[in-house]
Symmetry: C2
Subunit: 415 residues, 2 copies
């Protein structure tokens, strides 16, 4: 596809320039964009209105329309996000380790930008600014392929980035929006190995699966979270109740929300009525196994399918397990290796759970909702990786870099 190849070429060209920009220049761009976004609020909202009208015509539903919607507050929030990124430490250029070999070679490992980052995403126009800001800060050129439902809003935001970059005398192709929003353009990006160093899908499970299945460009898989809270025999039940309710209801539509509750059989009789009722009171539908249903009147019966479901809604599955090991086995069978939590006061069980559960983030006595770049102290987040290669868990600025070896010699040849 011609447009995509042209974009790739331009991106590659711009990458060499951006990779070597001083931190101060990159921060000036981010602050300039933040200022101009706020100044251009009226025209951005006008473009956003076009998208919202089209969305109505397309018959799009509540949550999507909400994610698509911009307003003064949200634009100010986007600008503040860029200011925050400008205030973070620049990871590029750091030498992680340097050692002297017996032959005198000095071998260092230096952090450098990845190069060209492609992102395929849906609905939310704020992703455009977030990704643009994170990529510029880390010296990466970005190629943005947003959804057609947000095209006008995305274009308005990208234009502001490009104008600021060009106004400072740099190559505006550091940030490019793909104007073709058909499936073909997404597919072409997935095969653009010559120009893209990495491709990140951000959106629903369907989008992520399609990119993982079809991309020959290295992909970072993000997002799907079937997270569990396991309440152990020795748990402080009040703490367990608070953690379960928070994990489930603090924001049910996101990937680090709990979807399943596991309870040790030895405390089932006390724990299920207490925690179950708290969930019901918070408006959560509880889908339990036979024992849960017998102890909680308003629970409905769970099916096999429930254990594997990421509801992203006010629904939770609940099951009694015979042991810590059974809990872990259940988590490995049905979980998505995102965030898993145990509530316990037993030291050995806490350590065993931390050690044995294979997931991006494993918690003792805390809500699964903390798996987040900001909560982890990274100041920013480009996504939460649920795969094992390159990055796992919340990805901040460092995860948008790679390394290269720099070797200082004095004439060494290999014997």
């Amino acid at each position: 596809m011609k447009e995509i190849i042209e974009i790739g070429k331009k991106a590659k060209e711009a990458a060499y320039e951006l990779a070597h920009l001083e931190t101060s220049a990159k921060d000036s761009i981010l602050r300039g964009v933040a200022t101009n976004l706020v100044k251009a609020t009226a025209s951005i909202l006008e473009e956003n209105r076009k998208d919202l009208e089209n969305a109505k015509e397309m018959g799009l539903k509540g949550a999507i329309v909400d994610r698509l919607t911009l307003n003064e507050d949200r634009i100010r929030g986007i600008a503040e996000g860029l200011e925050q990124i400008a205030g973070l430490e620049d990871p590029v250029g750091e030498v992680l380790e340097m050692k002297k070999r017996p032959n005198g070679l000095m071998i260092g490992k230096k952090r450098v930008p990845l190069g060209v980052v492609g992102v395929i995403y849906e609905s939310r126009p704020n992703v455009t600014a977030d990704v643009g800001g994170l990529c510029i800060k880390t010296g990466n050129v970005c190629v943005l392929r947003g959804g057609k439902e947000a095209f006008n809003s995305n274009m308005a935001i990208v234009s502001i980035f490009r104008d600021v970059v060009a106004g400072m005398g740099y190559n505006p192709d550091m940030i490019q929006l793909v104007t073709n929003t058909t499936r073909e353009s997404a597919n072409a990006l997935m095969k653009l190995n010559e120009y893209l160093d990495i491709l990140i899908p951000r959106g629903g499970a369907g989008l992520i699966r399609a990119v993982v299945q079809n991309s020959t460009v290295p992909v970072i898989e993000t997002g799907v979270g079937n997270c569990h809270v396991f309440v152990d025999t020795s748990a402080d039940l009040e703490m367990a109740k608070d953690i379960v309710v928070n994990s489930k209801t603090h924001r049910p539509g996101v990937c680090n929300a709990a979807e399943s509750l596991l309870i040790h059989k030895d405390i089932a009789e006390k724990a299920i009525p207490l925690i179950g009722q708290a969930l019901l009171d918070a408006g959560v539908e509880v889908r339990g196994d036979a024992q849960v249903c017998s102890l909680l009147e308003d629970a409905r019966e769970a099916t096999e399918e429930d254990w594997a479901t990421e509801y992203l809604d006010y629904i939770i599955s609940a099951k009694v397990v015979g042991s810590l090991k059974e809990a872990i086995s259940h988590i490995h069978t049905y979980g998505s290796s995102h965030s898993e939590s145990i509530v316990t006061s037993d030291y050995g069980n806490a350590q065993f759970f931390l050690d044995r559960v294979d997931a991006a983030a494993v918690y003792v006595n805390a809500s699964t909702r903390f798996t987040d770049g900001f909560e982890f102290g990274y100041g920013a987040e480009i996504g939460i990786s649920t795969q094992k290669l390159h990055a796992r868990g919340p990805m901040g600025l460092k995860e948008l870099t790679t390394t290269k070896y720099v070797i200082y010699g004095s004439g060494q040849i290999r014997k």
Copy 2:
């Protein structure tokens, strides 16, 4: 494909056991295998002879047959390699960083095994033992898909691994050889996302390309090296001569050998006859641009294709460039981002080259041949990554691990 899915299931099961083996147990396995390999020399050589006879019937040529051939020395070498791996530090379990967040959460990043590592490779039976050893040391289950030309040798080696593991009471499926060596089994591995965490192709450019193009499992791309040595105006020409000849001829068939020589125009008249003659004397065919040919009688004229060719042979392309920037631009146009070296005595040019050249390893005044896990001090190597995700350059034990976040809480919920 049924065999592959069965292997995947067994691998996944074994992975949880292997991930939590103590270092001492893993090292005992490696030392046991080393001992038994040497003891079984006669029977391994018998199996190897079957492969060599089949190879003759298949009409395979010199280099492949050489790589396929085992003898007492090579088997002893393989065993010593395993002993060495046993002596290395176990990377698994290290907590890379741990910090306390304002809410009291202690968030640590812990090194853990990847899980199940698939490797598709050709000819060399020593890869079987190398990969097996590196994976066991790092707590990873491996699924080995060797070429059919080495099947009997690979099977003999894997059987020794499995017997030692089983003899110590562990699950032998920690290491499995795919017995189906058709293209279908390789293709099935490339789609085995449910069970494989990573797939590494080791072999020729064709194999690597096929895996990168077809795999939905995350791939680490290894190997192709079109490496350059650039001789700057201020170079010590004797040093330059030694580095160029060493980079080219120390072992021409490997990926870190130099394939192209770039010379600054201001020293062309002195450098080309000196370095060119040394290359010719070492039996290297020099394919030069017009100026190289005019200064070196026995050079033949290079075509455009030569600049992009990885010869893996006693051939080098040679070109005069007008500036350091032109040299870097040439490297970025034709290189494969593997290993690049500048010979210079100018501080600024050295730093500029290190900074600007985008490659896995960038050298000042040293041979490109040093890009190697052993030379870098890792004690072992599973391959040399030429991509940017997860690992770049020589991959040792650490590159066979990922991380997970372990979070110690005391009841924290998200506000």
